[in-house]
Amino acid sequence: MAAPARGEQVVLPTTLGGEPTGLGRFGEYGGRFVPETLVPALEELEAEFRTAWVSDEFRAELGDLLTNYAGRPTPVTECRRLSERLGVRVLLKREDLTHTGSHKINNVLGQALLTRRMGKQRVIAETGAGQHGVATATAAALFGLDCQVFMGAVDIERQALNVFRMQLLGAEVIPVSSGSATLKDAINDALRDWVASVESTHYCIGSVVGPHPYPWIVREFQRIVGDEAREQCRTRTGGDPDFVVACVGGGSNAIGTFTGFLETAARLVGVEAGGHGLESGQHGASVSRGVPGVLHGARSLFMQDEDGQILSAHSISAGLDYPGVGPEHAQLAAEGRAEYVYATDDEALAGFQLLAETEGIVPALEPAHAIGWLAREAGRSVPAGSTVLVTLSGRGDKDANQVAEMLGETLG
């Protein structure tokens, strides 16, 4: 499907941006493929969310937390020097400025309130980059909940700062060494824990993945990013951007952003991890190179071999190092409403440095992929003079050590 022309009104198919149909379906994707033990808890969570999401009291409490604890709304920043460099007008939605430093806090505060409503005392989470783990540990401290975070051994190594932050916040970080020892395996172990602990524990999933109702709930908690950004863009530029760009791991910052722009004429672009390049097989480009399958409770697009064994992803950034994508993205791709592209490790690294040098903003390596893609495509598939909104999903402090090492610097 061709992207709609600027200013053209888009009629939404009912599944896009709305409630999933049937048992959590976005088109043919989604669903609830879990061990029987978990089914009642997922039903309870869905019922709790349905009640909460239409409750003025819940909305007010969440709104208060988002404003006075997390620091929302986050600004949209006009990038003058970067725009000049690239020949396109770049606006950044600044999720890096939230408390804890990434968009993950939006979802976690919502799920923490649900946890309390369900009367559960313990939360578990998986984390890749550590940002979701830090956000969950933060909310657990705030709400007085016990918190354990599953994290791949490889990621513990490359995101050491966030491991320490979680521990400071009173959470226990549980290393996962099975499989590729990254995000996919951390989700496996979190699910295994939950099968044993589901009666007293809430699994606070960090992206728009997992069994129904998670992809829907997490998207609803993240749509504030896109809803704010749309109004901020209109105020600043008098219209909607031509392109809306976000990095895609599981896809929560991207879906949160896209949802706010589904009814505009903006082209929606999700940037996946290109790793060492798509031909190398070492990447995390699940929409570009994945095929339909079922993992972690949902039907979506996954990187897998000819027998249906899931392949290990590779990315410079722990947060995008996942061989799948949330089901709603698979549907947006199938409908042609969003496009999915990639930036390689090297392009992400270049984007990381470019934003630091031109704007004085050090991005996390995950959104550095979105910057890196834009730097490559400005003046090409993104025509000169376009207005581009990029969601800067998090800040780069956590990556400083890793990047220094890669650039051959030694710190401290």
Binding site: P35, E36, P40, Q309
Partner: protein, 267 residues
Amino acid sequence: MNLETHLRARRAEGRTLLVPYVTGGLGAGWLDVVRAVAAAGADAIEIGIPFSDPVMDGATIQEASQRALDLDATPAAIIADAASLDVDIPLVVMTYYNPVQHAGHQRFASSLAESGIDAAIVPDLPLDELDGWGEAADAAGIETVLLAAPTTTDERLRAICERSRGFVYGVALMGVTGERRALAAQAGEMGRRCKAVTDKPVLLGVGISTPEQACEAAESADGVIVGSALVRRLLQGGGPEAAATFVSELRSALDVRDAARASGDPT
């Protein structure tokens, strides 16, 4: 062979049912392990088809699955090799949904049937998502065994027992597969709840690791499934003899219990 008919017949003889689990493709001799387990007194055998991300499995079966995959085990090869098993008890595959849907429901079901496999357990395919596979399996004569868990509500439990074929798999604890020091407190209740709503054979599995635990679990159900305790012996280097020895121990303990029951002795 029809799994449910076979298990009902054995149950009618007053026998406590024993279904051991063996990871398919775990070493070149895995078919001999299955034969040895059959000869040692199993009433049916579960053959695990390894999956890269087995979320219902604990450390032992995870390791066995990974080892089999490292040895280039594939679902197609395991199923094809199983055709050479001339055992006289039903065979059940246990795998996850992704390899099944990846092969295609009908293709997977007919490949099982062609290899003489009677039934399938797919633990991440609950009742509500059963449709496509369930129909294809029924059409190919493959019985799909459903799991019931301690958290399952009474209403769901009735529907699960109604839809399950072969037997009803009662999950005997809150958690994933793996050996446990003692039988979980939930086991008895799980068995009783299933038995109250179905006359299909009810087997308890997950966390049943020793002859004593098997006998204790059999108090509330028609039989037991034993996986990790057997697979650990294989991972530790045991072959067909070690597997047969362990399964014989389980069988003997259950036989003693069955004999005592038959003579009205309430041990």
